[in-house]
């Protein structure tokens, strides 16, 4: 049970065709349909097809080598050096070098990076920082630090060129076309191509799946039950996506009592029961219970009286609330706005992605089997980077409690990612972050 945490659980609800089992075949095109953007962070389906990181998580959440084959720290975690894998090429043929890696990292992190400087020295990429970086290898596995070619050999600005198992071949009529990278360092993918149909409504995705026009479609958490009723073949991750409210500690909500009032006013049960149809887990901790074992210590219950008490007579004016994402996230934000109005706050919904909202409802992927590293990545994602050196559960609990006491992060739910697959797709597993591992999937009707 303990060791099953970081793997995806496969719920096979439809009878899979009883063809004789063979090893995976090569060839064919996997048709994927999604409601959002294939490049969006953190779970855009195309990102890990095209790009690799210096490190990555295996399916169990353990850190492993990727574009770098070894790393070591010195000076008490103030300096790290990563040795690059030799012979890796970008999709356009450019050789992966420490210089291209440094250029990519500098492009993806211009300010407030986890390091002061990153330099290319021969085959090494060297990071240095004024404060210790105990979890840097794990941070580099996160979606933000995937390595892309920034400038091509001919000096032109690159498009979406990475070292991953698929390369972009075009985008037409709402379909992102990807072709197998024959010389991928991690092995050629089984499928010859992947086509990602973007911005497709979920009901249309499911219809296409039933007609055999799609092999992989999305199942939003709130429609998981419906997918079961329709006997779809569902692949669901464990609840590793954190839905949390990020509260701005400047401006109207600079007073921690007001932020605490907001945290007390939010009704997690309603989000869980109504919006997300009892999928995932209610949480008031940043890291999931299955990862830490202590998350239950943070009380998730709504306390409206306490919220009123904390707010007292403090005036906030009109607060703005926005939500990353669409669909259920927007509904959840509206529900939270309602909760806050009941606590006496005047809340107005802001458009998705608006800058400088007082509160933002966010979804964050929490992958990996190291809670300290995961906590540091979350802090980084929330724009509040700080090293997490605590290792024991007791010390991590105290650290998490002190972070939560600031009330800048209000964890709400841990949600699963889920996908349904058609009968011709086999061996689809989900990565540690819950995204489908398409390079390792194959099609039954190819030879």
């Amino acid at each position: 049970m303990l060791r099953r945490f970081a793997i995806s659980c496969v719920v096979a609800l439809a009878a899979i065709s009883a063809a004789a089992r063979t090893r995976p075949h090569y060839g064919g095109t996997i048709h994927v349909e999604i409601a959002g953007d294939p490049w969006e962070r953190p779970s855009g389906v195309a990102r890990r097809l095209v790009y690799d990181g210096l490190t990555e998580f295996d399916s169990g959440g353990a850190l492993r080598t990727a574009l770098s084959v070894a790393w070591e720290q010195d000076n008490n975690f103030h300096r790290w050096q990563f040795r690059l894998r030799q012979g890796v090429r970008f999709h356009d043929g450019t050789l992966l070098s420490s210089a291209t890696v440094v250029a990519s990292l500098n492009a993806s992190c211009r300010t407030d990076c986890p390091w002061n400087s990153v330099k290319a020295v021969g085959p090494l990429v060297i990071f240095t920082n004024d404060s210790p970086m105990p979890n840097l290898p794990s941070l580099l596995a996160s979606d933000q630090f995937l390595i892309a070619l920034t400038t091509r050999a001919d000096g032109k600005t690159s498009g979406a060129i990475g070292t991953g198992p698929f390369q972009v071949t075009g985008f037409n009529n709402g379909i992102l076309a990807l072709a197998a990278n024959e010389n991928c360092w991690s092995g050629r993918p089984f499928a010859d191509a992947v086509e990602v149909r973007v911005h497709r409504a979920v009901r249309d995705q499911w219809l296409d799946l039933s007609l055999g026009h799609a092999d992989v479609v999305e199942i939003p958490a709130e429609q998981f039950r419906q997918a079961q009723q329709q006997h779809l073949s569902v692949h669901a991750s464990l609840p590793l996506t954190l839905l949390a409210l990020q509260v701005n500690d400047t401006g109207a909500l600079a007073n921690v009592k007001l932020r605490a009032a907001i945290a007390s006013a939010v009704d997690r049960s309603a989000l869980y029961n109504v919006i997300f149809q009892k999928q995932g887990e209610i949480t008031a901790g940043i890291l999931p219970q299955g990862m830490t074992g202590y998350s239950f210590l943070f009380p998730p219950d709504r306390d409206l009286n306490r919220a009123h008490e904390l707010r007292g007579g403090l005036a906030t004016g009109t607060l703005t609330l926005s939500a990353d994402g669409e669909g259920a996230e927007q509904l959840a934000a509206q529900r939270i706005a309602l909760n806050l109005r009941e606590a006496g706050f005047n809340v107005q919904m802001a458009a998705a992605g608006v800058q400088h909202a007082d509160m933002v409802l966010r979804m964050l992927s929490i992958a990996g089997d190291d809670p300290a590293a995961a906590l540091e990545r979350v802090l980084w994602d929330f724009g509040d980077p700080a090293p997490v050196t605590e290792q024991t559960p007791a010390a991590l609990y105290k650290r998490e409690q002190s972070i939560l006491d600031d009330r800048k992060i209000v964890p709400l739910l841990d949600l699963p990612l889920a996908f349904a697959t058609g009968p011709r797709l086999r061996d689809l597993h989900l990565r540690a972050d819950g995204t489908p591992n398409l390079p390792d999937a194959s099609l039954e009707d190819t030879r």
Binding site: L2, F5, W185, G187, F190, Y294, F296, P371, A394
Partner: protein, 425 residues
Amino acid sequence: MSAMRLVLAVIFGVCSLAALAACDAQAQQQPANWTKPASQLAGQIADILGPGQAQLTIRNLSTIQGGEIPALRKLLEQDLKTRSVLIGGAESANIIRVSLSHNLREQLWVAEIIEGNESHVTMVELDGGEPAAALASNDRVVLRKEPIPRLVHRGGTNPHDDPILAAAEINGHLVVMYADRISVFSSVGATWSESNTFAMSARLSRDPRGMLVPAADGGSFLAFAPGSQCTGSYALPLNGDTHESGWSVRCHASDDPWPVYQSADASSAPALKAFYNTARDFFTGVVTPNVGVDLPPFYSAGMIPRAAGGAALLVAAVDGKVQIIENNTTRIIAGSRDWGSDFAVVRSGCGAGTQVITSGSGEAVSDSLRAFAIPALDAIPESNALAMNGTVTALWTAQDGKSAMAVVRNPVGEYEVDRVTALCN
């Protein structure tokens, strides 16, 4: 008839008891192992609370069986009592709320100590347990599974998604082939501990395959990987070096054919070699020596003895069909629809004498192995299915020819090696 029923009833009873014993063994932590953490937690609680009376509640968020909780409670109460913390009823002002939880790495016991408005938290960590091995099934021929002792890697942890391609016990060491290296493990107590690692520059693949062929001298081996071939040899170390340091492995780029079938007599030369398609992970169908007919691309091959004398070549083709080649003719084997891609031919000496052990068909989180006899052109099941602890990713005939070796990817992505033997029933 009634005697038969009695025998069946006895067998059923014994099997039930065995199953119960297995379930019991699966309990993650035995009460005997709770003494130390219970004492530790009680000590930490007493340090916070000091002498006095408190109410104790225990909540189980872990996999500990509900029936074990009273024993644990008793243990905690005793330990608290020795530290002058007496457990009282609901009238006690202080509350000790113990939650039995777990995280990714271990079991975690958390105590919340509530004194009036103040709350303190303390916790202790316990090591997690290992699941017990599955029970074998039972039929005419019985397949018995013996897991190879646990492999302990140099880092101390078992890596996920690091497929084992082949393994063989050679000269008292376990040689294990991975996609990018060959590791030598030495026996340490009940485990194999990694003592040497030799890098290979094989072409990486998403369905990696490899082959280890121990030499007749018992001190060397050949290893085949896509685009690469290695030779390993052992020589007694000089100058007091450790026993393990005597291994050397040399690899070179190679597209030489792989020995897909080795004679039952390990001292003789491999009977059949096949060329491997490194880009698509199957054998091309081109073999040496020539077998008289064109073979289709295939995943695995083996020789089975025929009742009329001689032997026939069996291949599991890429198209999912199992074919037998004898007398320069290729025929399809009926009853092999539910076979996996790999099989192993074993000489058990029981039933038909020789069995073909194969994994089940279809995409499965939990595979099974089953033994078949092929007296003519039909595959006849000779055993019940033996449940494996995950997906069988490689299967080959062991060096002794009497058992099969299976690599299993368990549900958490770790690989283990099992020896599967066909026993007479």
